[in-house]
Each structure stands twice: as structure tokens, then as C-alpha cells.
């Protein structure tokens, strides 16, 4: 990772902990010549180890990709298997899936926004330091996160790697009384989310406007979580089955995560809260749109630092949506649609908290997995993260190394890329010629 004629910069994980983000930066005559963002997560080979396993094992195995958003993996895998096996999951079962996904959005977004991202705007190291000055704000955030986790527990049995989800639906239907007990807490959750959003809206936001190619689910008549086509603000509108012909992944030396790009022109694209919001703001509830307005978010967000506000608007929406789903819940006749092993190819795509998460599997006659491909949001956003960093560094070369380093960390955390990466120390080497 060096250029001839320049100082050799060794970005080496040995000096830091594993999972850190590392940034290599080369500046010549006040101009950024090279910028590389690196994710160092040890490879775990999920797509390889899934081969030969039964289709029904995929949700529990892929859940282990991420402890923060296991639902995205469990439901993406389930959808793909149902697509391959021609199983229709609708009605109350689909409602329960949307409900548990709301829980994941709440716990993941609040963890990120309040505990991991907000400290950057306050110049603090962590949320515990926020708690010293403003214990109520942190307590509110913790209780809101807990509410998200409790939805996962009521519907899924466990907050991390839930046990009650399977291809076709659920192992058992949730307890009605436990569901009902969530309702008043969700009413509180809407108030709490609004309070936090408005508090965060007063942060001082660094100036940065990016012309993003926003890619999300859309066109399903509801704010997208589990259904829809893949759409963008530049006219993309494809079936999820066309994901692999539209988007590519490349493997670069500096990263153990594959980097996503548009096959047409190799350009980066954006997935996640800002992309979802920009493509679907009209599908939010009136109250959620009002909150966005109160947070001074227009119909289109171009400043990536404001992703924290979009997350909180989505938390508000998820509380409201969960409440509606619980109030309108009619228990389905069975906890799951039956699933019989067969050969086939299936696709699944859902809106993980960090953006679209794509799965495809090919099954043999016995229902064993022959091929698996999973494209998580973090890899899709990597190229865009580098583009944001380039813009940030170019505009802030006058900052000293320490301030610029923190600003770069904050910029990466806009993406909530992966919790381990997001909060890890960023090693910034600046080569000023």
C-alpha cells in the first residue's frame, strides 16, 4: 500500500486492535492524492460454510453474522428460501415479521445514535460521559433501546440471535398479553424518540453536501422494511432478483469486506437511513414527517452527519408502526407456513438498519444449499464512505491531525458501518508533502 516516491505508510493492524478502521491518506501540494479506508474484520466465510447445510438452517447460521442486526439476516435468508420454495408468508405472520423488524430498527438505531454517534457531536469519548452532564438523556436512550430489545424478546424469544424465527414464519406465536403490554410502552417510545431527535437536532452539524445515489427498497406502498423493489433517486427500479446483475462487489487489498458498486459505471451508491428516507419520505406517517420537519430535515437529506436525525425519525416511526401492528394484530391460524425441501433458486432483500441486505441461495433436490451469496449494507457503503472521507479531508486540510482524525472517525460513524468498526480507533496517517 505504498506509492513509489512517497513516504512509506504501513497501515498495520498489529499496532492497534483488530477490527479497527484504518485510513491512509496522501497529500501533495495541499491536494489529497490518495485515500483508503480499510476494514479489518477476520474473514468468517459464511457463504462457504453454508454450502451443504439444509435450507432451514440458514436463518440461524446467518444470524451469527451480526449480533446487532440478526433479524436482517434471519428474515433475508428466510425470504430467499421461501422464494425458492414458493412459500407465501402474509397476513398476521407478515405483520409479526414487520413488528420484530421494528424492534431491531429501534434497538440498533438508538444504540448507534445515542451511544455511539452522539458523543462525536459533543466532543466526548462515550455515552457514559454524556451521562455525567445529562443522565436523563442517556437513561431515556437506554430505556428506548430496551424497548426495541423487548419487542425482539416477545416475538423472537431473545434480543441477540432470536430463536423463534424460521423459514415459513415462527416456531410459536407470541403471547397476546406480552404483546399487549408493549403498547403503552410504545406510546412512551414515540415521545422519547421525539425528545431525543429534537435534542440531537440542536447539535452543531459539520457542513457537507453530497450528491448521493440513494438505493433502497421502495414501491410497496409502505415505508420499506421487508417488501418492495430496489429503487433509487436516479431512476433505478428493479426486481430484487436483478440485484446481482445491477450491483457488483470488488475485492480490494485493503479490506476484508467486499466493496459494492454499480456495474453500469463502477460508481458508488448509498444505502441506509438517508437513502431510505430520501426515496420514501412520503410513505412515513404524518407524525414522523412532522418530526422530520421539526428536526429541520427537508424532503431530501444530503448532509451525511444528519443521518443521526434520520435514524431518530425512523425510531419514532418504528415505535408508531409497532404500536399499529400490535393494535391491529389478528393471530394467524398457524405459526408458520409449511416448508418442504425442493430444488430452486431464491432471493431475499430487506432493509437492515444500515441499509438493504441481499441474500440469494440455490438449493438442490433435497433442500441443501448449493450456493449462497449475501451482500450486507456495510460492504455496499464502503466506496461511498471513501468518497465522503475524500470530500471531508479536502475541505478540512487546515485542521491539525488530531482534529482531522476525529472528524474522519465521525464521518465513518455516519454510516454505523458495523459496530466494531464504527467505534474502533481510526488510525490516520497523513503524508503531507
Amino acid at each position: 500500500m505504498t506509492d513509489a516516491g512517497t513516504r512509506t505508510i504501513k497501515v498495520d493492524a498489529l499496532a492497534r486492535v483488530e477490527g479497527e478502521g484504518a485510513l491512509y491518506l496522501r497529500v501533495k501540494d495541499g491536494e489529497v492524492k490518495d485515500i483508503q479506508f480499510r476494514i479489518v474484520e477476520p474473514p468468517r466465510f459464511f457463504e462457504a460454510l453454508l454450502r451443504g447445510r439444509m435450507f432451514g438452517e440458514a436463518p440461524d447460521i446467518t444470524a451469527r453474522i451480526c449480533g446487532i442486526c440478526p433479524i436482517a439476516y434471519m428474515l433475508g435468508a428466510s425470504q430467499a428460501m421461501e422464494n425458492a420454495l414458493n412459500i407465501e408468508v402474509s397476513g398476521g405472520l407478515a405483520d409479526l415479521r414487520r413488528l420484530i423488524y421494528c424492534g431491531e430498527w429501534i434497538e440498533s438505531h438508538v444504540l448507534h445514535a445515542a451511544m455511539l454517534h452522539a458523543p462525536d457531536f459533543l466532543g466526548l469519548d462515550d455515552a457514559l460521559m454524556i451521562a455525567r452532564d445529562n443522565p436523563d438523556l442517556v437513561k431515556t436512550a437506554l430505556q428506548l433501546k430496551k424497548l426495541g430489545n423487548d419487542i425482539l424478546e416477545v416475538v423472537g424469544g431473545r434480543a441477540v440471535h432470536p430463536v423463534n424465527l424460521k423459514v415459513g414464519g415462527f416456531y410459536s406465536l407470541p403471547d397476546r398479553a406480552a404483546l399487549g403490554a408493549l403498547a403503552p410502552r410504545l406510546e412512551w417510545g414515540m415521545t422519547a424518540a421525539r425528545e431525543l431527535a429534537l435534542a440531537f437536532a440542536d447539535f452543531d452539524y459539520p457542513a457537507l453536501d453530497q450528491d448521493y445515489h440513494c438505493v433502497s427498497l421502495g414501491g410497496a406502498g409502505e415505508y420499506p422494511i421487508l417488501k418492495g423493489r430496489i429503487v433509487s433517486n436516479r431512476g433505478l427500479d428493479i426486481d430484487i432478483a436483478d440485484f446481482e446483475t445491477t450491483f457488483g462487489e470488488e475485492h480490494v487489498a485493503r479490506s476484508n469486506a467486499l466493496q459494492g458498486y454499480l456495474k453500469d459505471d463502477g460508481s458508488p451508491y448509498l444505502v441506509g437511513p438517508i437513502a431510505r428516507y430520501n426515496n420514501n419520505a412520503d410513505l412515513l406517517s404524518d407524525a414522523a414527517r412532522d418530526l422530520a420537519g421539526a428536526c429541520r430535515l427537508g424532503p431530501t437529506v444530503t448532509n451525511p452527519y444528519k443521518s443521526i436525525l434520520v435514524r431518530m425519525v425512523e425510531v419514532f416511526y418504528a415505535c408508531e408502526e409497532a404500536l399499529n401492528l400490535i393494535r391491529g394484530y389478528a393471530p394467524p391460524a398457524a405459526a408458520a407456513e409449511p416448508a418442504t425441501p425442493a430444488a430452486g433458486v431464491g432471493y431475499g432483500c430487506t432493509e437492515a438498519p444500515r441499509g438493504i441486505c441481499f441474500h440469494t441461495y440455490a438449493l438442490d433436490d433435497g433442500g441443501r444449499i448449493e450456493r449462497a451469496s449475501i451482500v450486507p449494507p456495510t460492504s455496499q457503503n464502503q466506496k461511498q464512505i471513501e468518497a465522503d472521507l475524500l470530500a471531508v479531508v479536502s475541505a478540512n486540510l487546515s485542521m491539525d491531525d488530531e482534529a482531522l482524525k476525529w472528524r474522519c472517525e465521525q464521518t465513518i460513524r455516519n454510516y454505523d458501518p458495523c459496530i466494531s468498526c464504527a467505534t474502533h480507533f481510526l488510525k490516520l496517517d497523513i503524508d503531507r508533502e
Partner: protein
């Protein structure tokens, strides 16, 4: 970057991540009702998932998540051990190698080629192994993920220099205590409960699902007897039996041996 200490005598807690999904260290942040109190009782000296601040070691308690799967990590764990008075592994990855240890039963070179376009960029070991294969471990907490109350109990016990109260009996005992009718006897659903350590809170059988062994092998499990049950009573073929033992704790000694007996 150090943080001002309010109580200088507070023990220092460090949390380390190796190859993992982050779910077990997240369990600490999921202690929403207890987190601020925990932060009072201990100084969170190193916890990258939660804080940018970093206090130098040595540390009184190190929680280690994840398995060893790269040459770099195989060195790093020794540095962690040297800085830690008490080292506790948390979760199936750190105690048994995790789901990524399925590579241990395959050709890792072929795995790399299957996932990555440029295999030469990838640095990995042929096997994913538990922390105890590399350094002495003071306590192993099982679970995929761990149970957050067990985690609090283990931290509490070490702070008070007593033995943690963590059950090492089988999941079957918990089903009996909870009055959950056996899913294997009653409904013919395969269940790993007889060989799996309790601790999850009786999650699967109470939902009509067989246990799939998130909490790893119990002490001295009779895996051969259960495998026979699967074959004779439920009609499992060898491959199905093998895969039941080849989950998140596939590389634990007893499960590994049993699965290999059906290869």
C-alpha cells in the same frame, strides 16, 4: 486519552474482540437497567464497542469475545493475557471457536476461493480456535449469545473473589423445572437439550422447538447416546446427526468427536 477517575480504586474492566459477531459484548450494553451502575462499580478502561477512551493496562478483568482465526490474532491474545489479571471468555466463539470453526472440518483454501475474488489478499488461519487453545483462561462463559445476567454474575463474582454461580447441568433439567413437556419424547422433535448446558432460560423447548445447543456441551455429555436416539427414534441419517453437532459449538471437544463419528 485518559478519563478522570472518580473512584481511583475501581477495578479496571477491558473488553476485547476477536473473530465474532459482536453480539456477546453487545450483551453488556444490553444491560440497559444496570449499565450505569456497572460503570460506577468498575472503570470501563478499554471497550472499543462503547468508547473512544482508552486507559492503559494492566486490567483487573478482561472479557474476551471471539475466536482466534488469523495469525495476527494468535499473537494479540498473548498481549491481552499479559495485561489481564483475570481473563474471562464470553460466548461460543471464544469458548469453542464459534460458527466460523466449521472451516476446521473443510479445506480453508477452498473456502477463501469460494468467498473472495482475490484470495491472496486474505490472511487467515486454517482453523478457528477457542481462546483456551492459546492462553490460560480463568473462566469460560458459554452461550451464542451469552446471557446478560450470567455475564453480570460472572463480573460480580470476580469482583468479590467468589466462584460464579453458573449452572453446568443440562438443558433437560431446566425443562423439567419449568414444567416444559419434552419436545423429543412428546412430539418427536430432535433436541440437543440432553447434551447442552442450561443457561439460555429454556428458550427453544418452551416454544415447541428443539434446543440447538447455543450454550455448548454440558459437563461430560453423553453425545453417543443422544446420537443413537436421533438415528433410532427419529430416523436421522449420519449427515443429519453430524450437522446437529456441527453448529456454533462444533469445535468443542465432545461435539467435534461426535460429529466426526458420523462423517
Amino acid at each position: 486519552m485518559t478519563r478522570a477517575k472518580r473512584k481511583p480504586a475501581r477495578p479496571k474492566l477491558a473488553v476485547w474482540k476477536f473473530s465474532s459477531c459482536d453480539g456477546c459484548q453487545l450483551s453488556l450494553l444490553d444491560c440497559e437497567d444496570e449499565l450505569l451502575e456497572v460503570a460506577e462499580a468498575v472503570e470501563i478502561a478499554y471497550f472499543l464497542e462503547a468508547t473512544r477512551a482508552e486507559v492503559k493496562g494492566p486490567y483487573d478483568i478482561s472479557l474476551v469475545e471471539g475466536s482466534i482465526s488469523t495469525p495476527h490474532d494468535a499473537e494479540r491474545i498473548h498481549k491481552v493475557r499479559r495485561q489481564s489479571r483475570v481473563l474471562i471468555t464470553i460466548g461460543a466463539c471464544a469458548t469453542a471457536g464459534g460458527i466460523q470453526a466449521l472451516r476446521n472440518f473443510a479445506d480453508v483454501e477452498e473456502f477463501i476461493r469460494a468467498v473472495y475474488a482475490e484470495p491472496k489478499f486474505i490472511s487467515t488461519l486454517g482453523r478457528s480456535t477457542p481462546i483456551s487453545h492459546h492462553v490460560p483462561v480463568d473462566f469460560e462463559l458459554y452461550g451464542c449469545p451469552i446471557d446478560k445476567y450470567q455475564l453480570l454474575e460472572v463480573i460480580n463474582a470476580h469482583l468479590n473473589v467468589r466462584k460464579p454461580v453458573i449452572p453446568n447441568h443440562s438443558q433437560c433439567i431446566d425443562c423439567k423445572r419449568a414444567g416444559t413437556v419434552c419436545v423429543m419424547v412428546g412430539q418427536g422433535i430432535a433436541c440437543m437439550g440432553p447434551v447442552t448446558q442450561a443457561g439460555c432460560g429454556n428458550l427453544c423447548p418452551s416454544r415447541g422447538r428443539g434446543c440447538y445447543a447455543c450454550f455448548g456441551p454440558k459437563e461430560t455429555p453423553n453425545t453417543a447416546s443422544l446420537a443413537k436416539w436421533f438415528q433410532n427414534e427419529l430416523g436421522d441419517d449420519h449427515r443429519t446427526v453430524r450437522d446437529r453437532f456441527r453448529g456454533v459449538s462444533a469445535f468443542s471437544e465432545s461435539f467435534r468427536k461426535e460429529s466426526e463419528a458420523h462423517d
